[in-house]
Symmetry: C2
Subunit: 431 residues, 2 copies
């Protein structure tokens, strides 16, 4: 049996998951890869940190040269995350003719195309299955399995932290703050939860999926993004009343050859396949023009699930005798699509307002909506007889531009104290 040496850059959560999988599933991996996989070096910042007894001390190094200058090391597994020095190391690896497997969503979302081109030129593979949705083989699914399809839409729950929080809010009626606190205590959310809670993390992942499915290099900063920190317990209650569940969705749709991308909290019907995706689970629903609706569901994070994707990529490179770069790893570059401005996105809306309990306020608001081509699907009024009451609307489909214009005008009404919240509603799924 041939042996192949690989090196890990970083030994945090994912790195130790990779190590554990390579140890515990050694026999299967050797059989499937056609090579015995040996971790020859592990780059870390601190040699003195306790890494658990089972990793030989002599594998750790703080000197990257020991890895990049060792011609016997054929595959670099980048699991340190962040932009620098990960970017620099991946470039160095590719230029040293080493294959690269990475779990780095930030790097792939922002400079992935350049890295892929560089890998192409050097004749090595760059694989990044673990960068989106952890253990779920969504990259491979789009790249290798759905090749017969024009992809029309991808809708994903691709951030476990926010899904955990929203699940707690939905099933246990927790407030956002309490749910966030519990997520932090359980290690699902970071001390500074901004990247997850404000939707940056799913934004990067959406950028990666879009590039793969549509061949479009979208500027991450141009994608509409809204987090979940404005979702209140009362919105969750109203969602239930309307038969909806609130999820943070990352959406890309091909609407008549124009791409529409957005990340925002969304109300979806309780029978939607994504509605039942709970806790820290991830799921991605893909619509292809041949396959129809296809959903992948699983663990979007964690040492072993993410390690599963990383080691799967390593095996895939080895299986193909480290010579697969000719055809795979290339995003689908067939059709250059235009990217839609959020104003042109068409969806339904949930609007929660606080208004004076006076006659005519409902008529005033619906007149504004009607004038802007927004038609109302249902209205709930709560708190009859008090000075201020809550008025909740769900609209039919309309353009975001129409809605924003309506909201500006509604705000100006003297009978409207406040627009408390606006949440988009996606009803599209015909399951």
């Amino acid at each position: 049996m041939n042996k192949v040496k690989i090196a890990l850059l970083g030994f945090g959560n994912v790195g130790s998951g990779v190590w554990k999988i390579l140890s515990s599933n050694e026999e299967e991996i050797t059989e499937r890869a056609g090579y015995k996989v040996e971790v020859a070096k592990i780059l870390v910042r601190d040699l003195n940190k306790n890494r658990g007894a089972e990793v030989p001390k002599n594998l750790f190094t703080t000197n990257p040269d020991e890895i990049f200058e060792d011609d016997d090391i054929k595959i670099i597994v980048e699991v340190m995350g962040g932009m620098e020095p990960a970017k620099d190391y991946m470039e160095r690896a590719i230029k040293s003719k080493k294959h690269v497997v990475t779990a780095n969503k930030l790097a792939i979302a922002t400079i992935g195309d350049d890295l892929l081109n560089m890998a192409d030129e050097e004749g090595v593979a760059l694989r990044y299955e673990a960068s989106v949705a952890g253990g779920i083989p969504i990259i491979h699914g789009i790249e290798e399995c759905l090749t017969a399809n024009k992809i029309k839409e991808i809708v994903g729950i691709i951030n476990g932290t926010t899904n955990y929080i929203l699940t707690k809010m939905y099933l246990e009626n927790m407030s956002f703050n309490d749910a966030l606190k519990e997520a932090q205590e359980k290690g699902y959310a970071e001390a500074d939860p901004t990247s997850d809670v404000e939707g940056y993390d799913p934004l990067y992942k959406l950028r990666i999926l879009t590039s793969l499915a549509f061949g479009e290099r979208v500027d991450v900063n141009s994608i509409y993004r809204e987090g979940i920190s404005n979702i209140e317990a009362i919105d969750v209650e109203y969602a239930k009343e309307f038969g909806y569940v609130i999820k943070l969705l990352a959406i890309v749709k091909d609407v008549d050859d124009v791409l529409e991308l957005r990340v925002h909290p969304t109300m979806i019907p309780a029978r939607h396949p994504l509605a039942n995706v709970n806790d820290s689970f991830n799921a991605v629903l893909i619509k292809g023009n041949a396959v129809g609706d296809l959903m992948f569901y699983g663990r979007g994070a964690g040492d072993l699930p993410t390690g599963s994707a990383v080691v799967g990529d390593v095996i895939s490179i080895l299986r193909n005798n480290m010579d697969l770069n000719k055809v795979v790893d290339k995003p689908n570059r067939v059709s250059k699509k235009k990217v839609n401005n959020i104003e042109n996105a068409e969806t339904q809306y949930y609007i929660r307002t606080t208004v004076k309990d006076v006659p005519g306020v409902l008529a005033e608001i619906t007149t504004i909506l009607g004038k802007n081509n927004v038609s109302v699907l249902s209205v709930i009024q709560k708190g009859k007889g008090q000075e201020y009451v809550t008025l909740v609307f769900v609209t039919h489909k309309t353009f975001e531009g129409n809605m924003m214009k309506s909201l500006e005008e509604i705000k100006e009404l003297s009978s409207v104290q406040k627009i408390d919240n606006v949440i988009r509603v996606e009803n599209g799924y015909k399951g």
Copy 2:
């Protein structure tokens, strides 16, 4: 751009789906495959049958020699189904050094290993993604994406017809016969529905998944199989009362290196990820020791979804320059597992009995259960005060052998008129 000629064997539902996809997605497919794919011949039984206007008449032939003796035809797409002449044609194709893509679950489940070995020897690829769960890339998922895992369990809803019937029974309180009739009217069930309704179809598919995931060549006839024709509306009602949904599951579990295979109607908790898979949708839940729980959900049948899998296989062969047979298409042959007898399977049970409404009958039955190591989780009695009442039990986990022994003894009780139904309950999922 290189051109490659392929031939279709059969032009029914799937064959015409393949044709439609090749036409409508031609640009994408050419880009991704690296070849322009041209259907050169289509083998049919009847040249005079109307095939729709868009297929040129001169492509159809009734003479297989025109296909097998044409060296320009590189890939054979077998979409005729059934054992003969499909088996003969596939063997002929392989021996003529043509790659084969098939949607034939019967052939792959029963002689797939021989065909794969033959393809290996001849240096061609044999692909069969479409043979299990239509458009869902489950074969590829196991073979290419989960390679870092020891697979511990596969649980699938892999028959759309029975899932449609069970959905109607559950959501619309239909009887089995009414639901079957509707399925037949809508084209989901055949005039003779035996293969679906009695669980033969999912049995073949389970055999294919088992071979892939565990490398085990299980005799199809040795797998425990039970259909859904015994499920009555009243059982569905009781299932609801206990918080369960009834699904026809195909199950293979690795229990301490012994494989347990079974196909039977199963009660699962309403929050189980498979519980919400409705209508003719399929879904497969895989447990890997690294990835954890992973689910694939989508359309298990239909011209375009199945065609999506077939064309995906064609593209995959072309992408790899028709030279990938060395490493893929091989089932995982690492560990030779023993196969469990159904008596040793461990699960929970729902038992519906009709008993005389006399004191002591509950004690008599529970005494028998207790003696056989079956402990009761819950009991419902309905119809107090009549001569006969219904007594429904749900048990804790026990071995099938214990349960069968108990049922034999319970049947003999003079106070028991009838054991109406026994349905297994799988509670295992911790989502």
